[in-house]
């Protein structure tokens, strides 16, 4: 056999390959810029408490709903699609829980069940529309968004606050972070930091999402479809089933995000989470998920959410700047990441190894 490809990769080469893989590069960029901005905030406002554990935990708990939704959205984006209905479904979930517990007197779990049926059902319907009727995902999920918002408004025009004991208990659930003090007793750290249910949920869902993407056939099929749907079909993969499932799963994530949001604000309002779907999508893009499909890592999305969270935090600590600067910085960040994505694609097309 001709000896043209004999090269066994040693550890160093493997490490180099890991570092230079273009898709990983984008995640590194995200992590890198996150660290940069965090450092920036630490330098400027460390004394004000930016670097405290409390602040760091708040990144998770304040943005849990974005993060949970981003998990489902990551899958959708990897298949090359998009889902604009996530915020609407989350808002609907909140309304169902609020109205159900407060006005109808139902048990929260019953409400959650109803919301799950609605969210997953809508997701499946949209997925079927996209797959079988060939309607572009943008339009389909846009309609889904209108529909969900509409139903939310039909349920109630006003904000309903939730006073159910279970919800209060769940929202109030905290694991306080402690460390031993000088006397060797375990006391809460100052400023008080805790892990609440939202944070746990956020992390759990991210881990589950990562496992799905990396360890299940379903997840790998998602990548394949995003890479080349026609090839995937020719290779015998269950494209139709996978796509419908992806949108259904995203519906599930939207509902879970809605629950997280309810625990956060303890109310249901038909105008809540306006525009949040684009926050979720930007978080994914910043996290290295490509809108063209086929590329993305849950790990990247996690840091995308965190990175997005640092900017408003810095603005808040600054105190002097108009909070709208956060939106501008985020959009600049988005522009930066889009450019990086483009550069990475262009360069990876040039270097083809033989």
């Amino acid at each position: 056999m001709p000896d043209i490809h004999s090269r066994t990769l040693g550890h160093r080469e493997r490490l180099r390959a890991l570092l230079t893989n273009p898709r990983y590069l984008m995640v590194y960029a995200t992590i890198g810029i996150f660290l940069l901005i965090y450092l920036f905030g630490a330098l400027l406002y460390g004394s004000k408490g930016f670097t405290s554990v409390r602040t760091f935990m708040l990144f998770f708990s304040d943005n849990a709903y974005i993060g949970i939704s981003a998990v489902g959205m990551t899958l959708v984006l990897i298949t090359g699609g998009i889902d604009l209905s996530v915020a609407a479904v989350a808002s609907l979930t909140g309304m169902i829980i609020a109205y159900g517990t407060t006005v109808l007197g139902l048990h929260p779990l019953v409400c959650i069940l109803i919301a799950l049926l609605a969210g997953v059902g809508l997701g499946a319907l949209m997925g079927a529309c996209i797959q079988y009727l060939n309607v572009p995902p943008f339009i389909t999920t846009l309609t889904g968004m209108f529909f969900a918002r509409g139903v939310t408004s039909l349920i109630s025009r006003e904000s309903i606050s939730i006073k159910h004991s279970m919800i209060d208990a769940l929202a109030g659930f905290k694991i306080y972070l402690t460390w031993p003090n000088a006397q060797g007793e375990w006391v809460k750290i100052k400023p008080v930091a805790s892990i609440d249910l939202n944070t746990i949920a956020f992390l759990v869902v991210i881990v589950i999402g990562a496992i799905i993407l990396q360890r299940t056939r379903f997840g790998r099929n998602v990548y394949a479809i995003g890479g080349n749907e026609q090839s995937a079909s020719l290779m015998g993969l269950p494209v139709a089933r996978t796509k419908v499932l992806v949108y259904s799963f995203n519906g599930l994530c939207s509902v879970l995000a809605g629950i997280a949001y309810v625990l956060y604000v303890k109310s249901g309002w038909n105008l809540s989470l306006q525009g949040a779907e684009l926050d979720v999508i930007s978080a994914c893009v910043i996290g290295g998920v490509m809108l063209s499909g086929g590329v993305g890592y849950m790990f990247g999305t996690l840091f995308g959410v965190l990175l997005k969270a640092t900017i408003p935090a810095i603005i808040t600590f600054n105190g002097a700047m108009n909070s709208w600067w956060a939106k501008i910085f985020t959009s600049v960040l988005l522009l930066l990441f889009i450019m990086i994505q483009r550069a990475v694609i262009a360069s990876s097309q040039r270097t083809r190894r033989k």
């Binding site: 339009i139 509409g150 408004s153 959009s331």
Partner: protein, 360 residues
Amino acid sequence: MKKAIASGNFLRSKLFWAIVAELLILLVGFILRPDFLSIQLRTLSDGTTVLFGTPVDILNRASEITIIAMGMTLVIALGGTDISVGALVAVSGAIALKFLRWDVLVYNTPGDYTVQPFYLVILLPLLACTLMGLFNGALIGKLKIQPIIATLILMVGGRGIAQIVTDGKQFTTQYTPFKFIGNGSILGLPLPIIITLVVVLGVMLFVRRTSFGMFVESVGINPNASRVSGLKSGTIILIAYVLTGFLSGISGLIYASRISSNDSNNAGLGYEMDAILAVVIGGTSMTGGKFSLTGTVVGSLIIRTITTLVLYFGVVSEAIMAFKALIIAVVIVLQSEPVRNAISRRRDRIRTQMGGEARA
């Protein structure tokens, strides 16, 4: 317009059904409330006579979307989309009010005056929005970035820019010439309707009297063949987004004038969705290709008519979304490939039975 109908063979069916849909909805309104379609001339307290009535209202309120949708039609025909238009509307209003209330530190109360020349109040917002359209067009046309993600940047950042321009404040003005834009009328017709008419005619003339329209359709249908034939898609795409930006600026001025202030949170909210829907209902396919400006106008009217109808009967304005969604769902299902194929096959069968020529 004649040419639009003549050359839009397959579109004719979509346009036709869109018009039918609009007439049907109007009919429903008429049946439920006979004065739904009535138009009267009324004299206002200041002596001017204006046309009044629901149809006038529909045309009037549809202005902002219709104007933007004209540009959106071209963008979609090129296979793209522009979700930044709502944010541009907000920016437009913010800049206008900023220059109207340039004096806000000196004269705290809004009055019937402006310190800065009026032409600046109009020109600068339009310029800013055109430049933002240029930003979009450059990213998409020259750097070949995906439209949704490119226009997402301004969608996220645009409102921030609007807020920064006015330093987060909401100004009001009583300056008559400015208020005239959204609230005045000429010869009985509300000014927004007249502006819309001018814009629609202007875009139609530009698109059909030059070969720009043909170029857009060509690039949208077959970018490869267009390139071999000498078209430069980058420039064509750039112009489409610049135009859309400019039109968003106009729309923003009308909105700001209506409320005589700048509301950077709510201005243009949802406009991008409505504009896209107007285009799609009007028959232009989201995958690009042949487009119909007339269809877009009808589509925009349909959306506004539904909203008006539903409002008229006391349904809460937020629930309108649900109705919109249902109707749009029906429309897009009907327009979807599998359904259209099934319908056209049945139509061909009927045609050949009747001895007519079967359409391909």
